[in-house]
Symmetry: C2
DNA sequence: TCTATTATTCAAGAAACGTTGAACTATGTA
DNA sequence: TACATAGTTCAACGTTTCTTGAATAATAGA
């Protein structure tokens, strides 16, 4: 397929990263990637349609949050841990901790209903 | 003037906070508040028109990033450090460090031109 | 009361965002 | 070749965001 542009490490911009992460769907994607490592787009179909996921993946990729690797028909996504850590030390870790807390408390709320 | 609603600590949501911080203007406001403490809206006129700042301040306030206190004709903004720290430990600190780095490297670039 | 200052609200427009279905590309397999 | 699979691209749509100027509110001081 096509090249799939990724920004180099030094061009990863904070507002773009925060914008990419200011969406529930994309936060969920990032959380799963953090927990399970490399995953193909198809693994996320519970979060939206194929088309819609493609859109969100592109946002994450263009912001520099995620790297896409092609293998046959599949496209595997990984978190750009080292690049993000080099650029914004500690940020990803506190973000992931916050996501876990938030989704955990969200689960408690829905369970109570 | 009017009440100026602030979300209580436990209703500060991560996506809303990240969305509030995904804008250059608002990042600049937060960075100055972190460095200088309490500031009135008028202190930020270099970042935009009065009307426009009012909009950005409302975004920050409604996301729970900032608290507004009225004193006479002025409205003083402060970062909600403790609330944000309680909700998302470490997040604000790494964000502020990232902002400083980014604006510093941006200054180096513009200086070089 | 009149006036200046500080900031918000409102209406309007341009731009960006998120979602969709149809069409398309690229790969693997029979 | 032909077919199935995994994702992307495109055009369209409705919604939201950002920005602006005019009008408004609230406070302070003469």
């Amino acid at each position: 397929m096509k090249p799939l542009p990724h920004p180099p490490r030094d061009q990863i911009a904070l507002p773009a990263v925060l914008d990419a992460l200011s969406d529930e769907t994309r936060l969920a994607i990032v959380a799963r990637l953090a927990g399970e490592g490399e995953l193909a787009c198809g693994e996320f179909l519970a979060l939206g349609s194929k088309t819609n996921l493609s859109y969100h993946m592109a946002k994450l990729r263009e912001a520099g949050v995620v790297r896409t690797r092609q293998d046959g028909v599949f496209r595997y996504m990984t978190l750009r841990w080292e690049d993000l850590e080099a650029r914004f030390p500690g940020l990803l870790q506190s973000l992931l901790a916050a996501i876990k807390r938030d989704t955990a408390s969200a689960r408690r709320k829905t369970a109570r209903k």
